[in-house]
């Protein structure tokens, strides 16, 4: 799964720690999400997309391989 988390976070002038605090997760989770190493649950995906006033589909993009 790909996402626009890093560019949106940087655009909003937030640090990984700020985003982690707002989403109620650890900084390591934000790092893993930005690197595309971790696919979030539907709850976290919803929370993150709401933080940026986007829909889940706008923030997360499912790759053709389907992972």
């Amino acid at each position: 799964m790909e996402n626009k988390l890093k560019e949106l976070r940087e655009l909003a002038g937030m640090t990984q720690e700020d985003l982690a605090a707002q989403a109620g997760v650890s900084r390591q989770t934000i790092i893993s999400l930005e690197k595309g190493k971790y696919n979030p649950s539907i709850n976290l995906a919803y929370k993150l997309s709401r933080l940026f006033d986007l829909t889940i589909e706008e923030l997360f993009l499912l790759k053709e391989s389907g992972d």
Partner: protein
């Protein structure tokens, strides 16, 4: 159980183990008593450092036990249990075929098994932590 209650229980367990260590030293079992006491000091210090770090994270609004951590813990538990079970089965199989007679203290054996399982879990946890 909230973090404060869990911390009280952990320190209570450490205190009880500390009393057992002192009792063992007093009754002449120096090796076991000193070993236990050294382990407790290390575990207590590590627990203190960990709690300080966790408190800072909670204060900032972060959750150190988020969904990713639970997923890693679940995967690590499953993998370590599988490795442990397969290894035990192979040892039992080899022992049953060749059957070398070994005399062991059951408490030592249980302690070794527990340590191996814990170490396996730690390795598996770090493996998935790097992977995810």
């Amino acid at each position: 159980m909230n973090q404060k209650k869990s911390l009280v229980v952990k320190y209570l367990v450490l205190s009880i183990l500390g009393l057992i260590a002192i009792w063992q030293i007093a009754s002449g079992k120096y090796d076991f008593g000193v070993g236990l006491l050294a382990g407790l000091i290390i575990a207590g210090t590590a627990l203190g450092i960990k709690n300080k770090r966790l408190s800072k994270m909670f204060e900032k609004g972060m959750n150190p036990y988020d969904e990713r951590v639970w997923m890693i813990a679940g995967k690590a538990s499953y993998l370590s249990l599988r490795i442990f079970a397969i290894t035990c089965a192979l040892i039992v199989l080899a022992g049953s075929v060749w059957g070398p007679a070994v005399q062991v203290n059951p408490y030592n054996l249980l302690g070794i098994c527990l340590s191996v399982l814990m170490l396996l879990y730690i390795f598996c946890y770090y493996y998935y932590n790097r992977k995810m």
